[in-house]
C-alpha cells in the first residue's frame, strides 16, 4: 500500500485530498477479487473509484459522502485497508481449501442420491416381523425366573 510522493499524507500514510483519500495497491499482494470484496462493502459508506496507474497496480480513491476531516479520512482508509487484508486472507483460504470443500460437497450429493426414500423406509418397516422376540425381551421377569420366593429360598 503506497501513498503518492509529494502529496499530503495522513497519519497512516495515505494520500489526502479534499474530502478524499487515496492509495495504491500492489495486485501481487492484494488480488483484484479481494480489492473488489473490500470495495463492495464500502460502496454504501463512501464513493469508491479505481484506476490502474501501472500494470499490476490498482489505485483506490475513497471520497466521503459528506465533509470529512483528516482524522475521519484516515480512519476510513484504515478500515478499508483492514477489510482488504481480511478479504485477501479469505480468498487465499478459499483457494487452499477448495479441493476439500469440493470433496465434501460431492460426498454429500452422493449420499443424498443413494439415500432411501420415505416409501422405501415404510415398506422396510412393514416387512419386519416386529412380534418376533428371540431374546424374550417382552417376557416378564417373573415368567422367566419363576416365583421370586422359591429362588431366594433355594
Amino acid at each position: 500500500m503506497a501513498a503518492k510522493k509529494g502529496a499530503e499524507q495522513s497519519r497512516l500514510g495515505f494520500t489526502l485530498g479534499s474530502d478524499q483519500v487515496s492509495f495504491e495497491l500492489d495486485e501481487s499482494v492484494y488480488p483484484l477479487e479481494a480489492i473488489y470484496g473490500a470495495c463492495y462493502l464500502f460502496l454504501d459508506r463512501c464513493y469508491v473509484y479505481l484506476t490502474r496507474p501501472k500494470a499490476e497496480s490498482v489505485s483506490v480513491r475513497l471520497t466521503s459522502q459528506e465533509s470529512a476531516d483528516t482524522e475521519a479520512l484516515d480512519s476510513l482508509a484504515g478500515e478499508f485497508a483492514n477489510e482488504l487484508l481480511a478479504q485477501a486472507l479469505r480468498a487465499k483460504l478459499s483457494q487452499s481449501t477448495a479441493r476439500i470443500r469440493e470433496y465434501y460437497t460431492a460426498a454429500a450429493l452422493r449420499a443424498a442420491t443413494s439415500a432411501p426414500s420415505v416409501d422405501d423406509l415404510l415398506a422396510e418397516l412393514e416387512s419386519e416381523e416386529l412380534l418376533e422376540d428371540p431374546l424374550e425381551i417382552m417376557v416378564p421377569w417373573e415368567e422367566k425366573q419363576g416365583d421370586g420366593s422359591e429362588s431366594k429360598d433355594g
Binding site: 483484484l32 463492495y40 469508491v48 473509484y49 479505481l50 484506476t51 490502474r52 490498482v58 471520497t63
Partner: protein, 78 residues
Amino acid sequence: MAERITFDSSLYSPEAVEATATAYADYAKIAINSTDGATEAVIEDGGEYEMAELVNAFSNHALHETIVRRRQSALEAS
C-alpha cells in the same frame, strides 16, 4: 459543463458502465465512448443535481455493477 470519467476496462466491465449510463439516463445526459482499454463516460446537463455528486454516484454504481456481474458470471461458470 461536462465531466469525463475514465473507467479502465481491466477494472470496470464496459457492459456495467453502459448499464449504469442507462440507469442514470433520467438524471443526466450521458454519452459512452469505448476506447482501447477504457470506457469513457461523459456526463452533462445534470439538472438539479450537483455534478460532483452525480459523477461520484455514477462511479459507485458502475463499480457495483461490475462486481455483481463478475460474481454472477463466476457463479454460472462453476
